[in-house]
């Protein structure tokens, strides 16, 4: 899929995803070693975007399994199409029960869900298992077979093995500690907040209309906010939103009034806004 780490960064950059060296290295290794990639990090640093960008680069189909509390086998793996099975039974009246039974548990009556779809396909596939930490512990058990051997066992049919291994990305917000068994089957990547230089490039890529000096100031203010002890520090997504806001307001430099008016774009808790206002001396107005 990729020839070198630099190749990964260059091709991801073409799709509009600027990867840090850590991200590029790990993606390269995941592709080379054929192991799933577990991505952790705060909300809004581009975990899901990474999977989409990889899919775009590799020209692969993106299959997405969105996890939530209570997601189960029939939502993740496969389900039998009961209505169709009933129709089949009532349609074929003259055959013996044995014939019918072998027939209704065939591929035709199987409804594939994301995991089975990703395993069965012949074309290159990127499988995104989003917000794995939201799913129950039982769900992790289901994932183990898929992640280590890239196969799924359907009791009535036998084992379906991947002809072409999908590139698997799991994301997690660390809302719950994932089990050790799941972790050791994956390469681990933590995406944190980017360095100032990388963040400037990200802002410039997404909001090209903003001047270079203002972009630098934006990134510095966000960096200062992240160093504070806040309930929810602003993430890359918020930085980009803020840049958009400033562009829309037509601001060409940052001053107290502009920052105070737009702080709500960056911080989502009243306590945080109060604290940041105090620390940045915004009340001197």
């Amino acid at each position: 899929m990729f020839t070198s780490v630099d190749d990964v960064s260059a091709r991801l950059a073409e799709t509009g995803y600027l990867a840090s060296p850590a991200v590029a290295t790990t993606v390269f290794l995941a592709a080379r070693l054929g192991k799933p990639l577990l991505v952790e990090g705060p909300a809004g640093v581009g975990k899901t975007e990474l999977a989409k960008a990889v899919a775009q680069v590799a020209g692969a189909r993106l299959v997405r399994l969105q996890c939530y509390e209570g997601v189960d086998e029939s939502r993740a793996l496969y389900e039998w199409n009961h209505a169709k099975q009933l129709l089949r039974i009532s349609a074929g009246r003259d055959e013996s029960w044995d014939e019918t039974r072998t027939d209704i548990f065939g591929e035709e009556f199987l409804l594939p869900r994301p995991l089975l779809t990703a395993i069965r396909g012949d074309e290159p596939t990127v499988l995104l298992i989003d917000e794995t930490d939201k799913a129950d512990v039982e769900m992790e058990g289901l994932l183990l077979e898929v992640l280590s051997d890239f196969q799924i066992t359907v009791p009535e049919l036998g084992t379906v093995t991947a002809t072409r291994r999908p590139f698997v990305v799991l994301t997690s917000n660390a809302g719950r500690e994932l089990s050790e068994a799941l972790r050791r089957r994956c390469l681990f990547l933590h995406i944190g907040f980017p360095e100032a230089e990388l963040e400037r490039r990200i802002v410039r890529l997404h909001v090209p209309g903003l001047g270079a000096a203002l972009t630098a100031s934006v990134v510095r203010v966000v960096g200062a906010l992240r160093a504070m002890d806040l309930r929810k520090v602003p993430s890359v997504a918020e930085t980009v939103d803020w840049a958009h806001t400033l562009l829309a307001l037509g601001a060409d430099t940052l001053d107290e009034a502009v920052v105070q008016d737009t702080l709500g774009v960056l911080l989502k808790h009243q306590d945080d806004i109060r604290k940041a206002t105090a620390k940045l001396d915004l009340e001197t107005l």
Binding site: P21, R176, D281
Partner: protein, 450 residues
């Protein structure tokens, strides 16, 4: 390649010694990663090994210094003669002003080489980060660098200028870290890597002893409170779900079996009364154990929506309720300890802790806070400064509460030594050793009522 294999296995060994669980499978993956990435680029190698060997964010703090020891940036000292202090300071100021990480790393190596060496005999000599930083005093460069940056006008006048000081402080902090890593590397060349990796690398924050944690580590622990509370909340919820699948209600099972001809087709489970448990925390906040108490108070406060009522009391030798100070929103974790000591009446006519008096005062003044639904936690080292431990008061509290536990931040071996009344209290109240955040979260998940 065998040298690399040996180096990876000893790196893995050092990480395991720090409590990072790594299996053979991961070691093999790490070796494959090295094979794929090559040894040319050290930073790529670092990321590759981290991706294959680590399983969590917290482990990264241990991994980086250990990696620096086993895959050092260079061998021996930097080229060129010994640098003198004034010239080093000049160049450091320039590098800080320019925010040039590569130059900072180079300067750290030169500084340790020029200023950090001590001793002359081959047995006792070494390299000291502390001595290097004492002689170089990078923190005193702040004003000079600030003037330099302002003079060049790159900082952009006006609003962002006020951020400059903090940014420079962070760069200086980074330089101090680099000096520490460099000194460790130089010592490791002399003394053998394995020993330095075991001794000189700090453990992860959740394994730091509460009683010996420094300011940075306590700050790191405070930041970990919210994610930890979220994890514990899910664990408590799971316990609650399991507990809800209770025992069979025989009367209602038989009653419902009448409709199926007396055959109990569907067992009916006893319903649990949805009583929200109440929690009372008694915290010793005297100097010796305040780090432990502050952390536990914050953790319990973050879990407050799991309980019907949480009341927190702090004491040194007098006791006062501090529940209000911990309110959501008001709780500024950093200043919590100072605020409690400023706003609550905790000491009488002397400043050292007195468990007997404080617990007696609790039983007397706030006895009604403890009822049959209340679980009481006492946090403290049970060191009474040789005053009366007041066992009847403890017996009274424990007798009235549904459950009572004592969390002691001292190692079990030290209970009962000196002025510790731990064994006497442990006879009345279930006492647990609780030295690290890891132990605490285990205990909280197990002991908290659901």
């Amino acid at each position: 390649m065998s040298d690399v294999a040996e180096r990876i296995t000893s790196l893995v060994g050092a990480l395991r010694a720090h409590g990072v669980r790594i299996g053979t499978g991961e070691s093999v993956d790490a070796a494959r990663a090295v094979e794929t990435l090559g040894l040319a680029d050290r930073e790529l190698l670092r990321e590759g090994l981290a991706a294959t060997l680590l399983h969590g964010v917290g482990q990264r703090a241990v991994f980086d210094p250990v990696f620096d020891l086993y895959f050092p940036r260079g061998v021996g000292g930097p080229d060129g003669g010994p640098a003198d202090r004034a010239a080093l300071r000049d160049r450091l100021a320039a590098a800080l002003a320019a925010d040039d990480p590569a130059a900072l790393a180079r300067l750290a190596a030169e500084a340790v080489d020029g200023l950090g060496g001590y001793g002359s005999s081959p047995e006792s000599d070494g390299w000291s980060a502390y001595q290097t930083l004492e002689r170089l005093r990078p923190q005193t460069l702040l004003a000079r660098v600030r003037a330099d940056v302002r003079g060049r006008g790159v900082s952009g006048a006006g609003f962002t200028d006020r951020l400059l000081d903090d940014e420079l402080r962070r760069r200086i902090e980074e330089f101090r870290r680099l000096v520490g890593a460099e000194a460790r590397r130089r010592v490791a060349e002399r003394r053998g890597r394995d020993e330095i990796a075991r001794r000189a690398v700090r453990p992860t924050a959740d394994r730091v002893d509460f009683l010996f944690a420094n300011r940075d580590q306590l700050a790191e622990l405070r930041r970990a409170v919210r994610p930890l509370a979220r994890k514990l909340a899910t664990r408590l919820a799971a316990r609650r779900r399991r507990a809800a699948r209770g025992t069979i209600d025989l009367r209602r099972t038989l009653r419902s079996s009448l409709s199926t001809g007396g055959v109990p087709m569907r067992p009916v489970l006893r319903r649990r009364r949805p009583a929200r448990p109440e929690l009372v925390l008694l915290c010793d906040v005297s100097g010796s154990v305040s780090g432990f108490s502050d952390f536990t108070m914050l953790l319990v406060q973050a879990l407050h929506d799991q309980f019907g009522k949480v009341r927190v009391f702090a004491f040194v030798n007098r006791l006062d309720e501090v529940t209000g100070l911990l309110d959501h929103g008001r709780a500024d974790p950093e200043g919590l300890g100072a605020r409690i000591r400023a706003e609550a009446t905790l000491t009488g006519w002397h400043g050292s802790s007195d468990y007997g008096a404080a617990l007696g005062e609790f039983a007397e003044r706030y006895g009604s806070a403890v009822g049959p639904r209340t679980t009481v936690f006492v946090l403290g080292d049970a060191r009474t400064n040789l005053s009366d431990p007041n066992l009847p008061a403890v017996r009274e509290i424990a007798g009235r509460a549904r459950r009572a536990y004592w969390l002691n931040p001292e190692p079990r071996a030290q209970w009962g030594t000196g002025d510790s009344a731990a064994p006497a209290y442990a006879e009345l109240v279930e006492m647990h050793e609780c030295r690290t955040a890891r132990q605490l979260s285990g205990l909280v998940a197990r002991l908290l009522p659901v």
